[in-house]
Subunit: 368 residues, 2 copies
């Protein structure tokens, strides 16, 4: 099996528990790529702020952060003892921070279940810490396996192109910053790069918060992967002109029927891929499937602060500033996600392999 | 016939000849909506800079600016006499400033033809000034007529919605700033607003240069037209959810077979409109048709400075600043236009009426 990355190369993760085991450390992703700032989370409120205000983002990382939120909640019982009702209500607060990423509720409930079935504060603390750690390492392994499976697709394209550059378009950031290690959409790209395939990534800037231009470009640059930032408007033109071989994106929630909620704008790229016969893949761990919701209409789409649209953050002489791009009086709307219908998706790259929409339930029979 | 705007309401134009007739005045559109700065163009070089660096933009306005560029060239002969060869070579310089907007060559050649057929410097000067003025007023009339024809479409939608709000999505700026008065895509909107129809415009911000968020929002706000700025990523989601009744865009060049070059990202909106059975209209004067080019592949697409993608301009405490949004080392690409194939266009709104792609040549039989 391909060893995607040796332990020596192990780089920073976006979240970890500090040595004293009482503080969760995260990268404040709002400031990247301009500043790499580590923030301490010590309370459930800290965790809620970090998720809601997008210090952390990306479905798997939101899940892991929530899991450690439950741990911090239980840890707080040492100073302020309370019963299971309190833990459950704190978990409800954590789960209500953002509506779309399903990993949030999934991870919170998974840790909560372990806590509720453990006895004594110390027992509950250990259970929470272990489960949060287990979820973290599972997500790492999932992403690694997504990379291994997705690599096959890129290798095939490379062979068909006689080893010319494989051009991959991605939207938003579904890299290790979103997923602990490897990433989802980026895992096959990193795998291809590591075995020496010639890959180049078109990075959608991903307005309003520019996760592509800020985070994906930064990640790829750090690993030496060739990439070019483009506006979100450009992908269709590139696809029309034979400059994209494959689109790979992540997702915040995908129904078991294969409808994909992902960062706003994903649907437009899926339409363009379909119109130009370009394969459109969604990379995700099983934790991002919604095993209850089959239909697009039931998918909760987050509406965020319009000022994220009206202002753009960037670097001005080493200072991070937000500049107003629009008339002061003009209103804006900020829909954070859209839903790409399954008919536009060529395949799903999961930790268990690749499947089309109809076969998701066959790949995960125990979930249905 | 509908009087779209009384003379009393006549507002600023984006270009005019000053009273002394030796200076062309333009609005520096790079600074809007934050600052309204008028710039003097006195030489062909000034005109070239204004077009290339996008002080002025939008196909009809580029044409009119070029027309006045020929006038300034001929005017310069008073101080520096030269022959027709010089005028022709200066016109070639003007025509090579930007490749996609066809009005540029069309207007330059139209004035040049009048100049070459006139005798004496004073005769050439008068011929150039008159022809530039004629082109300007023709474009105003064209846009007014586009408004009258396009209004019928909006009125019909309004009737079908039982006078509920008609939601119109537009991309980039095809307003009066791009077209002297009324605009192309905005002309039907202004007409609908003036007769009291309840219209609301979704304004694509239009990265990289944000002509939507900066210019269209400013224009609509000044006229009191309800509007909301959205990211370029959002339109597909809005269309999926019944929040868009019609898309109207302008164009920089449309082939006589109906393929539409317009600001990058237009194609993605056309795909989404098609996927959701939403009418997608292109509003243009006959000066924007390319009567020679039938195929998409021959359409010249401008590649601009990548820093227009890497940096975003906006207001920071009353100062206009450009902030870097990406890692310093990451490259970017800046394709300025894309081509929407005719199969995705419901209709073309021209000064002579509305037609589909197949009937363009029937509406303008003398051009083919």
């Amino acid at each position: 099996m391909l060893d995607l990355r040796s332990s020596k190369k192990r780089s920073l993760r976006p979240i970890w528990l500090d040595d004293k085991q009482d503080t969760v450390k995260i990268i404040d992703q709002r400031l990247l790529p301009h500043k790499l700032v580590i923030v301490d989370l010590k309370t459930v409120d800290d965790v809620i702020t970090a998720i809601k205000d997008m210090y952390v983002r990306g479905a798997p990382l939101i899940g892991v952060t929530a899991a450690y939120g439950v741990y911090l909640c239980v840890l707080s019982l040492l100073k302020n003892p309370a019963g299971d009702d309190f833990i459950i209500s704190e978990c409800d607060r954590i789960k209500s921070t953002r509506p779309t990423a399903i990993n949030l509720a999934w991870a919170t409930d998974r840790v909560l279940k372990k806590v509720l079935s453990s006895t004594g504060i110390q027992g509950k603390i250990l259970a929470a810490r272990d489960e949060a750690g287990t979820i973290t390492e599972e997500e790492v392994k999932n992403c690694r396996d997504i990379g291994i499976h997705g690599l096959e697709i890129i290798e095939k394209i490379s062979r068909n192109k006689k080893n010319n550059t494989v051009n991959i378009l991605t939207h938003c950031n579904a890299g290790w910053l979103a997923c602990i290690e490897y990433g989802t959409a980026t895992a096959p790209i990193y795998a291809a790069h590591e075995i020496g395939l010639d890959v180049h990534v078109w990075v959608d800037e991903t307005r309003p918060l520019n996760q592509g231009a800020r985070l994906t470009a930064w990640e790829l640059g750090k690993r030496g992967v060739k990439h070019t930032i483009i506006t979100d408007n450009a992908g269709g033109h590139l696809m029309q002109n034979g400059m994209v071989d494959i689109v790979i994106v992540g997702t915040d929630r995908t129904t078991y029927k294969g409808d994909v909620a992902n960062k706003i704008g994903t649907y437009l790229k899926a339409l363009a891929a379909k119109d130009n016969n370009i394969p459109f893949y969604v990379a995700l761990p099983s934790s991002t499937f919604d095993w209850d919701t089959g239909t697009i209409k039931d998918m909760p789409i987050e509406l965020r602060n319009p000022d994220e649209v009206r202002f753009v953050q960037g670097l001005d002489s080493d200072l991070i500033k937000s500049v107003l791009i629009a008339p002061k009086e003009s209103p804006a709307a900020n829909f954070a996600f859209d839903v790409t219908p399954s008919r536009l998706v060529t395949g799903f790259i999961t930790e268990r392999g690749i499947c089309n929409a109809a076969d998701i339930s066959k790949l995960f029979p125990e979930k249905i």
